[in-house]
């Protein structure tokens, strides 16, 4: 079920980043904010200057998560992702199986609820 939501949100991400003008071209990262609300979920997007896309799906009933908390979650994800990329045993494109990455994501998810 999440896969569908995430795939749709990737289309929204593509739309947003292709519409961005030169003004935002020097930002290292693009926090895209709320991509679109659905009945059950809020979907947030973030793109790096290396074109890696992160999507966070939050239950609509969670109203306590603030924008700056979401931004900080994306930053943590970005940093963890960079560490995964630096593992010489990781092949870019493979699903991430890093214990360190999983533990950071789990901690973030627990904190957000």
């Amino acid at each position: 079920m999440f896969h569908y939501t995430v795939h749709t949100s990737l289309d929204v991400v593509e739309e947003k980043i292709s519409g961005v003008g030169k003004a935002l071209a020097d930002q290292r990262e693009l926090y895209l904010g709320l991509l679109y609300p659905t009945e059950d979920y809020k979907v947030y997007g973030y793109v790096t200057n290396s074109k890696v896309k992160f999507v966070i799906v939050v239950d609509s009933s969670n109203t306590s998560l603030r924008d700056n908390e979401i931004r900080s979650m994306f930053r943590k994800l970005h940093n963890s992702f960079t560490d995964v990329m630096c593992n010489p045993f990781y092949n870019p494109g493979d699903p991430i199986q890093s214990k360190a990455f999983d533990s950071i994501v789990s901690t973030m998810m627990v904190q957000a609820c």
């Binding site: 630096c86 593992n87 010489p88 045993f89 990781y90 199986q97 890093s98 214990k99 360190a100």
Partner: protein
């Protein structure tokens, strides 16, 4: 001062870590056998060690060590600091004073590294064993160096165990392995 010495202090450690990682993973692809990769890393380390000792002795100007305890201190406090920027602690001396442990809290070679499940026998930092062995051989000490504990394989710390085997006669030339 020559350009290499000027440059040395500001080398980026990430490039060093990634270079070592590329080396290890390439060996894994080439040999497809963890034990063999460990051996190759040790061999490469040995070839580095027999050369690095000259640089070390020139830059540190330490004198000849009087006993193995002094050797241990010089390795931990001078050599590791100079080349890897870390200072392991020296512990677990054998009663005979011929064996000790180096405990590494951190190791720049393994930053960001996570061993996949199919490489459980890989001793990732084996290069270090060879370096120590080769370097000490050039100062007439035959030693055995191995990893007793490894954070990459689930241990809490990384522990290198060094054992003094014997003095080497001065007139035997050391060759590459």
């Amino acid at each position: 001062r020559c350009p290499q010495t000027e440059r040395a202090a500001s080398t980026n450690s990430e490039l060093f870590t990634l270079t070592y990682g590329a080396l290890v993973t390439q060996l894994c692809k080439d040999y497809e056998n963890d034990e063999e990769v460990n051996k190759q890393l040790d061999k490469m380390g040995y070839n580095i060690g027999v050369r690095l000792i000259e640089d070390f002795l020139a830059r540190s100007s330490v004198g000849r060590c009087h006993d193995f305890r002094e050797t241990a201190d010089v390795i931990a406090k001078v050599a590791f600091k100079m080349y890897l920027g870390i200072t392991p602690s020296v512990t677990n001396w054998s009663p005979a004073g011929d064996e000790f442990s180096l405990i590494l809290e951190s190791n720049p070679l393994v930053d960001f590294v996570e061993l996949p499940d199919n490489h459980s026998n890989l001793v990732y930092s084996s290069l270090l064993c060879g370096v120590l062995r080769g370097a000490l051989e050039m100062v007439q000490m035959a030693v055995d160096v191995r990893f007793a504990q490894d954070t990459l394989r689930g241990d809490n710390v990384t522990e290198i165990r060094m054992k003094f085997i014997k003095r080497i006669e001065e007139n035997l030339p050391a060759g590459d392995e």
